[in-house]
Symmetry: C2
Subunit: 339 residues, 2 copies
């Protein structure tokens, strides 16, 4: 009788310790989908530095601004930007009302799935696409169109909603920063009005913290109803050197942390890194063909039409002390489990 009793006395505390260690660990680690390594360590060290009241790197909460690129940084951008998939779907949906599109570029290319002809249409073709799919309605109507589309559309290869093509480690990073009184902003080359209808639910980022490219709108009163009419003209391109300008216009202070994944994020990181005090600047590198995609052309990976990361940009990033996140090595999980 004494043996089982002694055994129980020994094993219960051990078992209890083992069981209790799981929630304790989960609670202590704000970034469970990040493997231990330089990237994760840099994030935690930075957050501890800027929140250490009385420490040399302390930053008051009001100045804890973190900016995130969207395509390729918070969600997948392959095989094409999600907003382009939206535009192509819109062309197909509106085609019955536009019989002339069957013989007019770039619409003919879209309808025939001829991506080479689409690319050949260049910027003028892209503007024609934008004018037909993103303008000519009120902003309120456009928000409804986007919301309906994103609720129904599915990624062509992963066959799940685009809002589940977000990166679980980045969701944890957003939460971790906000839990430490950061204000998180999207600063994307994508359309500001394409993102705003779903960023709050998907990322916890409200519309007023979304910065992006825009087309011109005009306030009009139509049949006694005030509205913003979307005109077929580009207002602002929030990419490359446009990103720090968008940050200056919308936020009005310099971020202390910035996250991107391509050469289009270079100036945003440059601007962020050049401030005084602790800074965190990171780039997601897509080197995970097994779980997502692998493209560069840095490190010998294939080039990409979307979110290219050239070798010279890799060299500059590393020389500048910017952290390059390897999706393959730094992330234990890529996508959330889904519904």
């Amino acid at each position: 009788m004494t043996l089982p009793f002694l055994s129980a006395r020994r094993s219960i505390p051990l078992l209890a310790a083992a069981v209790m260690a799981i929630p304790a660990f989960a609670q202590d680690d704000p970034l469970p989908s990040w493997n231990e390594g330089a990237a994760k360590a840099a994030i935690v060290e930075f957050v501890e530095t800027v929140t250490d009241e009385g420490g040399p790197g302390y930053v008051p909460p009001a100045e804890r601004i973190a900016t995130f690129d969207n395509d390729g940084t918070l969600w997948s951008e392959q095989p094409m930007y999600t907003q382009l998939a939206f535009a192509l779907d819109r062309v197909r949906e509106l085609a019955p009302e536009h019989p002339e599109w069957a013989t007019t570029q770039p619409f003919q290319a879209v309808l025939e799935g001829d991506l080479e002809a689409l690319a050949a249409a260049g910027d003028a073709g892209l503007m024609a696409l934008v004018a037909q799919t993103h303008a000519g309605m009120s902003s309120e109507e456009f928000a409804r169109i986007v919301s309906d589309w994103i609720a129904a559309a599915r990624h062509p290869q992963f066959d799940r909603p685009y809002t589940e093509m977000v990166f679980q480690p980045m969701l944890e990073l957003l939460d971790y920063l906000r839990d430490n009184d950061f204000k998180t902003f999207i600063v994307s080359g994508g359309g500001i009005d394409f993102m705003r209808p779903w960023t709050e639910k998907t990322y916890g980022i409200p519309p007023e913290q979304v910065v992006g490219s825009s087309i011109r709108t005009e306030f009009q009163v139509v049949d006694d109803e005030p509205m913003h009419m979307r005109l077929g003209e580009i207002d602002f391109i929030n990419d490359k050197a446009g990103k720090p300008v968008g940050i200056d216009t919308h936020i009005g202070r310099r971020p202390i942390a910035a996250f991107g994944n391509s050469a289009g994020d270079r100036e945003m990181l440059l601007w962020t890194a050049a401030g005084n005090g602790a800074r965190l600047t990171m780039l997601v590198f897509h080197d995970d063909a097994a779980r997502e995609y692998a493209y560069g052309p840095a490190r010998g990976l294939a080039d990409s039409h979307f979110g290219a990361f050239p070798q010279e940009f890799m060299d500059e990033a590393l020389a500048s002390g910017w952290h390059v996140i390897s999706m393959k090595d730094d992330w234990s999980v890529v996508f959330p489990a889904g519904e």
Copy 2:
């Protein structure tokens, strides 16, 4: 012995009640500088409606957006917009480096104090002033110039800093709304970069919640230092029909409360009022020559170059159910006590 004892028993509770009534009242009234009346009642009723969880007018905190004009709504705009006083001071300060200004309009008019010649120079003259006083330096340098100026400049008639020419009742209103989980924004025709250096300290409104007119900036790297260079071109005029566009661009959702003081705020109030659910739209009317200024031309008051409030706008406001705040009748205090 019994009489004093009885007397004490009677008077102590009365005295205690009287003494305790003062802090209790101050604590209960979030708007102590507002006289009891329709304007104050409308504010309190609106806030109680939208915060009443389960009630028919409930609005979730994330959607509690309130927008405030600045000049004439949050601070005085007479005898001229503060930003114009800044520009004129800059011309006088820079004049020694520009001997040609002695004979060039509109600079000659500024240097000679000839406001008629200044007005005659029109929009082209105003643009020349902006280009010389608001552009040609980095945004960071401009913020320093503004900060230095506003710390030293004094209002010509009240002889106190401009940041003490703010309206105490509006400061209480900002606090009251924020205490009820509103996000408060400035939406002003004034320059966004002229306001941002001081709005956080003065109003508790951070730079990212300031919307205003802007000049174009360009991101440049000069001597290895990244900066935003201010170009001498208007980017956006955030006035009249521009205000709802500025709101759409910066905030991305419709306010549920909006506050202005002139015809330049008409479209912002129109846009706000046309949304579904409880709305609060108010206009400050300057009818207090004794404590601040009195100008219209509505209600027979003098016309004004700055913040005009025409009679037809008064008629439209009242017909639309917008609340007109009488500075004379609705405010027991106009300015904060000062330092």
